[in-house]
């Protein structure tokens, strides 16, 4: 059933002689990914740094990252899943028809060459960005590249990981997993955690109008989400915690200004490879931290009568 085979970024720095980016533009979106972690640094087993690595970039258009690549494969928009399927087949020595490759905008020769290079690598890594994970196919596109990496381990050492953006979104995954068992989209309405992406994910909840109040913190959906979702946020009582008065604040009932994470609010942040790092603020904020405000809201809620019906502390039949 595939899998998720990954490593911390230092393993890439020290060992990777094959580095592939798919659907991402690190030169502009993660500028130090090349220089500090994955491409340029001299590593323990790649002593010449960049010279010891082959870099392949797969994207639908030429970005600034192309300059850093040894090989650029320009794929036709929306054909990532097809290309990854072909690669998985080729890795296993399956025949794929030249004609059928054409729809991806790439040639069989290019993909065969890519597979050869992957298998020849001593340590290969594939990073993938939102150009893969947010286009048609979405989670199945991510699953495809993760599975390709897992399967390559029959031939050599290979790993894959997403290029997470958005500051500490990785931390949100990590924290939710240990507290609830699930990485995101967790519903507590029956008193225990439940998970079903598509059902309990925010855009779906808002577009369908399934929620009747919202607390938004560390995000500005009013600027980024589809209009029907924004319309619903404006319809229901919304509370925003943010260092700025945001688009979402303007359509909210309540806005509370908070200190800026990492600038004036201390704590922990997770790197995209799930390594925790301490945040060391240089400034003192005139505003309270998100942590503090959330705790205060929680205390205020806890003083109200508990809605939860008294009953057992456990259940063996989850719905």
């Amino acid at each position: 059933m595939g899998g998720k085979v990954s490593c911390t970024l230092g393993e890439v720095k020290n060992r990777a002689d094959f580095v592939l980016y798919w659907g991402g533009n690190p030169a502009e979106c993660h500028p130090r990914h090349f220089t500090k972690y994955a491409l340029m640094p001299k590593g323990r087993f790649v002593p010449r740094g960049r010279k010891d690595r082959t870099m392949v970039l797969v994207d639908i258009r030429e970005t600034k990252s192309v300059k850093a690549a040894d090989i650029f494969l320009q794929i036709r928009p929306g054909k990532d899943f097809e290309a990854l399927s072909i690669l998985r087949a080729l890795v296993k020595g399956q025949h794929v028809d030249e004609k059928q490759v054409a729809e991806t905008g790439l040639t069989l020769e290019q993909l065969t060459d890519l597979v050869d290079r992957m298998k020849r690598a001593k340590f290969g890594v594939m990073f993938f960005g939102m150009g893969l994970s947010m286009t048609r196919g979405k989670h199945m596109n991510s699953a495809s590249i993760l599975t390709l990496a897992a399967e390559l381990n029959a031939y050599t050492k290979f790993v894959a990981m997403p290029m997470r953006g958005h500051g500490n979104v990785t931390g949100a995954d990590v924290v939710m997993r240990w507290t609830t068992g699930y990485p995101f989209g967790v519903n507590f309405s029956r008193g225990y955690p439940r998970y079903n992406p598509g059902e309990f994910s925010t855009v779906d909840l808002l577009v369908r109008g399934d929620v009747d109040a919202a607390l938004i913190l560390g995000a500005d959906p009013g600027a980024t989400m589809p209009q029907p979702a924004i319309d619903h946020l404006a319809r229901i009582p919304t509370v925003v915690l943010d260092p700025k008065v945001t688009h979402t604040s303007r359509l909210a009932r309540v806005h509370i200004t908070t200190a800026v994470t990492g600038i004036s609010a201390p704590g922990t942040g997770y790197r995209m490879d799930e390594i925790p790092l301490p945040l060391r603020p240089a400034l003192r904020s005139p505003y309270p931290t998100d942590e503090d405000v959330v705790r205060r809201i929680h205390q205020a809620v806890a003083e109200k009568p508990d809605w939860m019906a008294a009953g057992g502390q456990t259940t063996t039949t989850q719905i």
Binding site: E82, S85, R88, A89, Q94, M140, S189, D210, V211, I319
Partner: protein, 277 residues
Amino acid sequence: MSAIRLTLKEQPGVPLETEVLSPDALADLAHDEIRSLPVQLGKRRRRLDDFFEIEGERSDEIEVHGDLSLLKWIGRGMSRGRLTIHGNVGMHLGAYMTGGSIEVHGDAGDWVGAEMGDGLISVHGNAGGQIGAAYRGSPTGMRGGTIVIDGSTGLEVGMRMKKGTIVIGDTAKDFAGLQMKGGNIVLLAGAELRTGAWMIRGTIISLKPIAMLPTFRLARSYNPEFLRLYARFLSGLGITLPCAADEGRYDLYSGDVSVPGKGEIFVWQPAEAAASR
């Protein structure tokens, strides 16, 4: 024994979870007991009669009337009886069911018949995605039974299904038959992209041309014998599968070779089209 009849009298403001609307839960209950059954409105525990006018008792035949688009888990895990819905219905209809039948005169939401073991679900309108699918992380979706959707459906129809039949009357969105392990999906009006992706085993039959993944190979073109038998089974559900040689032939594609899998996709080529190719 006459049917229990429920009519929605108040639309919930947020989704309402009503797994109690199932013959197994109602069949042995008196009227008052049915009325007081718990339902879940968001975080609030409410009574069934807060939302429904209820007539009848002690029956495994249930009729529900009204727009139930926000009602989830109707028929969850049911093993017997008959559930008829006059109106639209929300997510997880008949999930985990092992027997009995559900008929919907309207549209249904996502996850119809998810991980079902046996029984029959027919939806006369459209339905959402993940019909007969496996829930996240589960190795296996539908293990038996039949789902017939007259209209169109969303993504990932029959994901990881192992046995049973799903028939879709109008177009299915992407990833129909995703990671399929067995059973049959019949697409009367074709599908959008990536049909049969990651397919291991099982059969997809499309009566309209579909976009094939590059990791499926055309194996042969013929009128397989087993389809004649299968057509007989489908005709019992009121569905006609063409299989006479003079009407046309089926192109058989096998894949998904990226797995590599041994799934089969049959695409119907009517006689004229077959001749002009």
